[in-house]
Each structure stands twice: as structure tokens, then as C-alpha cells.
Point group: C2
Chain length 403, copies 2
């Protein structure tokens, strides 16, 4: 119910919209921007001139046009010059990447993470070291416009503090603050739930590109989710929205780390699958993504224990998806993390459950897809979170970054 925007707000909005176009869509001709944004040519020219002067985009003659006449200039993001740091705190790995405007991963470092009780030091120290190494290698004319991290836990929107996570219980980890201090770049570190960020990434650049209503399910040790509703990430009151892994699907079922019985996480998570397949905690047994892949491969080769395990897990996954489909009426459900493998190995079971348990008009147009960004969905989501400030207010962020 607030008032309409001022001229200055409209300009800022338009600058951000144009930058977002080339950030997500890649090099785009002025003519295309004119038609896609519904603005006239002179406005596009003025906006492009501002962004060019700020060093965020550059204009070039297109390689070839195939048409007669003067070709329309192509606007490209300055990927090599303007970048963010994206961090990913996964259950089994830590990743830091330098990502250029436009989404290009310019540099990355990765370390294996041992499972066990959470320690801030053990996570923050290597990530900070990676970022410093990458920062030292940058040219002097480059500029870092944001830093963000994906964290496999519940992250409060107000302060970016991690409030809960698998194997963490209820905690208060000021992860963003600690990372900002260690990085010393003079920039805050935004923190988001990993599944929420992966959902954003799949929506912006992945399987769900163009979908306004999407449910993303992310499997790890735990099961998380991210929901895009009407084009926007469902955050909820405190930012914990989308914790679909703790939807109870089987009230007499397996016990969950959260204390309840039969949460989706308890029935379809890594441990549920490996136990059902008789592969949990055996001597020399694999864990993590490799272990999940091994079950799917074994089922493919005809191993009946692995097949039964996938059938069992697929059945609960299907019930959970049916519930979410009835609740959200999404256009697409995307399976990511280890649920990508689980879905690929149990698609028939999932679809059969949907046919029984989802309301017919709601499932009619539903598409089921696996993550297009794979294991990097969370990292790409962190990069998008880091870019969100510069896309909202390009000139202001650049001015603050001291370019």
C-alpha cells in the first residue's frame, strides 16, 4: 500500500533489470533488450551507457548478423572484471568459487569434509584460505561485488545466523559474520539454506528456468527443499520456509534426527536407502553420493536387495512429492543432490504414488525433472545470492565496492 516509485527508483529498477537480462541470458543485442524490456531505444541506450561507464557491461559488434544493414550492438556482462565469491558448506565437501557476472565460474577450490560434529573453525578456515588464494590471483582492475554462502542448515533471514542443521541440533552459528571477519574484504557474507539456494539456481539457470511455481527437493544426509511460488522463493516468517524434509509422511516410521518419527528425511534420506540396501556402516562401506550411486547401479544390474530398497524409498518419496504437489500445485518438481540418483532409480515408483495420491487436475500438467546443475546447484545458488545486491542496485553496489 505504499506509494508509487520515484524517477530515481525507476531508473535503478531498469538498470537492475537490464543487468539481470545479460547476467542470466548472456550477451544480448540492444534491439532484443528493447523488445524484451518494453522500453524505447533511447532509454536502453542510456541505461547501457550508465552500466558501461560503471564497468558492469560492455558493448560489442556481434560476430555475425546474417542480415543486411547496421547490426545492433551486443551488450555483454563484464564477467572477467566483476565477480563474487560463492561458498558452499556441504555435508561432504567445502567449495569456494570466484564467479564472474554472467555466471561464469572463473576459479574454484574444493576440499573433502569429514562428517562429524560441526565445528566453525574446521569449516571457516579452509573456505577463507581458498577465497584469499583466489583473491590474490585477481588482476587489479577486477572488483568483488558480493560474497554468499550456501549452508546445509536453517538460516534466519534477519541476521544470517544458522539456527539448526543435520547433526547440529538447535544452535546459533553466526557463520556469515565469522566468514566476513576472516575474509577481510570489507563485504558482508550473506548466508542461505543450501536447498533454498539450489532452488533459486535451478529456477534462474537450471531445470526450472521459466517456471514460476517449482518445488525443489534436495537430498544429502538430510533432505531439504526450496519452493518457488509465483516466481519468488518461499521464505516464511523467519526465512526457514521450505523445510519439507521434516514433513511427516509415515507417523509409525523411522526415527529422524529432529526427534520425530517418519519425516520425509528419515524415510528417503541417504541412511534410509543404505540401510534398506543392507549397505549402511559395513566395513569398508561407501558413504555419501558414491554409496547412493552404488545402490542405483546395483539395482540396474539386477541386485534384488538394491531394487527393493529403491522401491521402498521411491514409494515414500512419491508420497512426499504427492503431498507437496497437492499443497503447492507446482509446474515442476526438481530432484537434486542425492535425490537426483534416487529419483532416477525409482521414477516408476514415484510416478505410481503420484497417480494414486495427487489430485488429478493438480498432477495433470506436472513435470518431474532432475537437477540440471547437479552437484553445483548449491554453489551456483550462493553465487546468485551474492549477485542479488548488484542486480538490485548496480551503481550503488559498485560505488561501495570502490571501483
Amino acid at each position: 500500500m505504499r506509494a508509487g516509485p520515484s524517477q530515481e527508483e525507476i531508473r535503478r529498477h531498469n538498470l537492475g533489470a537490464l543487468l539481470r537480462h545479460v547476467h542470466l541470458g548472456g550477451p544480448t543485442s540492444r534491439a532484443e533488450l528493447t523488445s524484451r524490456m518494453g522500453l524505447n531505444r533511447s532509454t536502453i541506450m542510456a541505461l547501457t551507457a550508465d552500466l558501461t561507464a560503471a564497468g558492469l557491461v560492455r558493448e560489442e559488434l556481434p560476430r555475425e548478423t546474417g542480415r543486411a544493414g547496421r547490426p545492433s550492438l551486443v551488450v555483454r556482462p563484464e564477467s572477467a572484471r566483476v565477480y563474487v565469491f560463492a561458498l558452499d558448506v556441504g555435508v561432504d565437501r567445502l567449495v569456494a568459487a570466484r564467479v564472474g557476472l554472467g555466471g561464469t565460474i572463473l576459479d574454484r577450490r574444493e576440499a573433502v569434509r569429514r562428517r562429524g560434529p560441526f565445528s566453525l573453525e574446521e569449516v571457516a578456515a579452509p573456505l577463507a584460505a581458498f577465497a584469499r588464494q583466489m583473491h590474490r590471483k585477481t588482476r587489479p582492475d577486477t572488483v568483488c561485488v558480493g560474497v554468499a554462502a550456501a549452508f546445509s542448515g536453517g538460516v534466519a533471514r534477519d541476521d544470517g545466523v544458522v539456527r539448526f542443521g543435520p547433526n547440529m541440533g538447535s544452535v546459533d552459528v553466526p557463520f556469515g559474520e565469522e566468514m566476513a571477519r576472516r575474509l577481510g574484504l570489507g563485504l558482508p557474507v550473506a548466508v542461505g539454506n543450501d536447498a533454498n539456494l539450489a532452488a533459486l539456481a535451478e529456477h534462474a539457470r537450471g531445470a526450472g528456468s521459466g517456471c514460476r511455481d517449482l518445488v525443489y527437493l534436495h537430498g544429502d544426509v538430510g533432505v531439504g527443499g526450496g519452493v518457488i511460488a509465483g516466481g519468488t522463493l518461499l521464505g516464511g516468517h523467519q526465512g526457514f520456509g521450505g523445510e519439507v524434509g521434516h514433513m511427516i509422511v509415515n507417523p509409525r516410521g523411522r526415527s529422524c534426527g529432529c526427534g520425530s518419527l517418519g519425516c520425509l528425511e528419515a524415510e528417503v534420506g541417504e541412511r534410509a536407502l543404505l540401510e534398506a540396501a543392507g549397505r549402511f556402516d559395513g566395513a569398508g562401506a561407501l558413504v555419501g553420493r558414491d554409496a547412493v550411486r552404488a545402490v542405483v547401479d546395483a539395482a540396474d544390474r539386477g541386485d534384488i536387495v538394491a531394487q527393493a530398497a529403491l522401491k521402498r524409498v521411491g514409494d515414500w518419496l512419491g508420497l512426499g512429492v504427492a503431498n507437496l504437489v497437492n499443497i503447492f500445485n507446482p509446474e515442476m518438481v526438481v530432484f537434486g543432490g542425492m535425490l537426483r540418483e534416487v529419483y532416477l532409480g525409482s521414477a516408476a515408483q514415484v510416478r505410481s504414488r503420484l497417480a494414486t495420491d495427487a489430485l488429478p487436475p493438480v498432477r495433470e500438467h506436472l513435470r518431474l525433472r532432475v537437477s540440471a546443475l547437479g552437484d553445483d546447484a548449491t554453489l551456483v545458488g550462493a553465487a546468485e545470492l551474492a549477485f542479488s545486491q548488484v542486480l538490485a542496485d548496480p551503481l550503488e553496489v559498485l560505488a561501495r565496492a570502490g571501483s
Copy 2:
């Protein structure tokens, strides 16, 4: 990613915003509008003049100000002149009302509806007759700016066709089109799912006023829901969002009208409660809201069968609410329809389930409330839907209405 708004769009937005202020907030002084809308005095004066000229608001001296100096004029909605028709197709009743701008119910007609197979004629004929009766009684200087209906079924957003409902199976009922034809007012009839509209109403004028994230649960024969996420109704891809009644909470549970087992609707709906209380289908047994109230009253008086029935139903209701709280992280859950009574009779059970099954940081700030609008929540929601066009573009709608 579209361009910023034009001057004309900003004016339209501001006219709508001002009208919405007085529609929802009641008579408001110019001074208050100036500060709440963040616009300067002359803009507020110009907007008010436009709305006054269009006959949507009028300005008056306030009754008493208690202050020295010239009092700020008060802007009031023209409730007696500008109105909508709101229709409510409930399971047990049909209601039509003439609702004035500002939300005043000016006139209403109601009929009992017999339960049984759905018939368009049996629903549309009395509603049209009611609307015609009320229309004939209006003064010549009044203007109808919209018509909308709440329908207990799944309503497609694109065409307002009812696609499914309790006791209806999967159908295609062009209810809005049929009502518009019968009313002959030259206005389209917007149709919305009753629980969705009740959620909008509780958000705009009821228990959830001021909440940006709210889950509304509606009990009738069936159980429906409406979710306000970030201030906006969750519609989903086709408009069927919020069908939380078909979330399976007990996969080995009672059979549901949809064909599944253990849907929330099957475990906490009217029939589940009455059967558990041994009061279903007995000779002379009550049905509907009265029957539900009778169980709650009996439990209050110490009837142990009724107490056990409420405990059982409250337990499943609590599990369902815990799931929704984990998924949506709402600020508030509102119980409406017959679930208002069920919640009042089983609040301890619901809260105990929440304490076990909802993630602690997610339930920490959660408020549980019963519907403030009671049985009229769906009707009020229909009125708000009918007003939505005039609030989006006041002058255009009025011009079309031929005032």
C-alpha cells in the same frame, strides 16, 4: 524483468493504494494518508479529488479532533453507493450478499443447502434470485463494481472453472460463466476456492491482519486451506495451491473421498470426528457445524467418548499443522470453518503434537488462532475478490460500470 512503470501506471497504483487504505482501514484523515503512503500532501489531495469525483470516496470534517487548528479532512469510502455482490456456495448453505466499499454488508440472503450430488441448477438458481432481489432494492445512484463467488472446490485460475470438489469428483463446472449469464448485470463473476478466499479475508480483515505469512485451515465436509506467503495468496501453477486437506498424514489411515488413504481431510474432517464420537449417521443425528459443536460441548461436559474423539482428531490435526509449519514457516495458523470448533476442543493435543513434530526455531514465534470472521470468512473473501478489480484500477472499473 520488465521496465519500470509509466506516470499513468503510478497514478493508477496510487489511486488504488489510497482506495485500499480506506476500504480496509475505514475513514482516514488526509494527514494520516499522507504519512502512511509516504506521499506529499498535494499528491494526496489530487488523488482524493479524483476518487471523490468518481464517487468512490467522500471527504468530511471529522466528528471531533480534540486539537486546536484546522482539522484534517477525513476520507470515507462511499459504502452506500459503491458495492459488490458476494456469493458463497458452502456445503450446507448458499449465501448472497451486497457488500459496500469498506466491507459493510448492506443486505444478505441465505438458504439452507441439502447435501448430495452437485447440481448447477440447484446452486445457481437461488443465488441468482437472491442477487436480483437485492439489486431491485438498490437506489438508482448506486453502482455494482464486481461480483465474485466462493466455491468449495478446486477452481482453475485461468477460466474460473470448478475442476474438483467434495462429493463432485473431477468435473468441469463453468460456474462463473453460468452465474454471470443468470445475473445479467453485464459483469463477469470471479470464482475462487472457498478456503483460499477465507484466507484472504482473515489476512485482510480478520485474525491474520498484518501477517505476511499465514496458513489458514478450513474445515467443512472436506478440509481445505489457503496460504498467504510473503503477503500474497499462494496460487500455484493453475490456481489449485493450498489443497492441504489432501496431504497424507496417516498412510495406513482412513479412506478419503479422493481415493487415497489418510489424507488430513479423512482424519480430521467432520465425518472422522463424528464417527470417532459414535455420532455418525445415527437416527436423528445432527450433521454439519451443529453436530461438531455438539461433540465439543459433550466433551466439555465430561463425555469420555467425545473427549477421546477430539483427542484422536486433534492429534492428526496437530501432525498436519506441524507439517505445514515446517514447510511454510508461517507467523500464524488460523483455524476456520468446523476446524474452529475442533481446534477449540483439542488445542492441548494440537500444541503437544507441534511441540514434538515442528522444528523448534520454526514453532518458536508461531501463533495459533481461530478465525475472527467465523462462518462469514468465505463470504467476506468473495467480497474482497469482487473488490480487487476496482482497487487495482479505480477509475477504469467505474467507467466500465457506467457510473
